[in-house]
Subunit: 243 residues, 2 copies
Amino acid sequence: MLDLLTSHASVRKYKDEPISDETFHKMLHAAQHAASSNFAQAYSVIQVKDPVKRDKLAELSKNRKQYDSAALALVFCADLRRLGHAAALHGKKILGGTAENFLVAVIDTALFAQNFVVAAESRGYGICYIGGVRNNPEPISELLELPDLVIPLFGMTVGVPAEKNEVKPRLPIEAILHEDTYDENKYDKILKEYDSVMEEYYRNRSANSKSNGWTDVMAAFLSEPRRTFMLDFLQSKGFLKIE
Amino acid sequence: MLDLLTSHASVRKYKDEPISDETFHKMLHAAQHAASSNFAQAYSVIQVKDPVKRDKLAELSKNRKQYDSAALALVFCADLRRLGHAAALHGKKILGGTAENFLVAVIDTALFAQNFVVAAESRGYGICYIGGVRNNPEPISELLELPDLVIPLFGMTVGVPAEKNEVKPRLPIEAILHEDTYDENKYDKILKEYDSVMEEYYRNRSANSKSNGWTDVMAAFLSEPRRTFMLDFLQSKGFLKIE
């Protein structure tokens, strides 16, 4: 089982083999057994089957390659909307806009999604998370007719792998694990060593060989503004409002 | 494997059996292979060993029972701080305060945590997520000396189960799965049926039998203000700031 987890790498090209509804639903059902904050189950999945919508989704998320060949094209949504319906059955309204409830929905969705990934990979399928869905959350919300309090958090493609990336070396345990108190004094040394590991990995990998480490890529990734519309978008959908 | 996922239920009482560092680190290493947005790996785990700190954590998260008997007491943190160090090695600063980067860190942490749960459960351990860590995020941050851009997202206890809850029936697939467009018209019927299922479950379960459904519990849970300090707390740690 640990070997299965450790062998994860994104799959961006799939064989032309479908996944039956029965198999898909079995994997979803297993995934739903992830823990959920106060059992709110604050997530939804949109399965995009319509070829026109799928094409549009691929374009809007800037991930044409993945979506073109995948057996399943999914969008995972953080969802307080259904809970609003639950509350309305008792004449109540939910407080959608609090940061705490936003966290509940985002974390619930991510735990569920990762459980789904494990389910799918245990059956021999490959997957790719599509963070690119957050490049155009507003048009994608319109495309999928997502109401307030439902936001596309990430997409996912699933299918039988036609090719698979090599597994990337992760940060060493001591970088992510702290005992009793957070210790940042250790980072500079650890990160420089990790850069050497990643440089070797990037230089030697079979596809997209390049001469980067890790810290330089992260510095570039996180020092430039990205998706600066996100807070406005979230608030336009009813999340993260001051109540 | 699907059976393993489907058998998940929180464990709140553990046998007095330790988990070796070797085993813990193996499970963490496997967990790190969860996908990560642009490979940022924006998470940290604090393992709380010091009995005084552990006692304080149990009190602050209002989960004494879990923390008292668990082999491992963990706090999972969304962490952009380490990425700040990575950027500083290249004379750059990261944009910590954007909603997008906040999402990156929260989702990364949750995917990693859920992978860890699967790893632990595959080895026969039980776990319990402790959302209660968000009852007192500021004092817990002080206790664990978390700097800016590191926030305690949830805790977790891990150990050999002494008792285990029964598995709760999840929402039916059709409640969480939508085809091409989001369909909320179906909810009222589905949720009423689910209430019957949950009523039967709660009535018949061996511990904490009660006469609730699901929608009534959710209505109560989400219509009252909870953790209203959360947005202020997040912003005080450098997240979700208008840049």
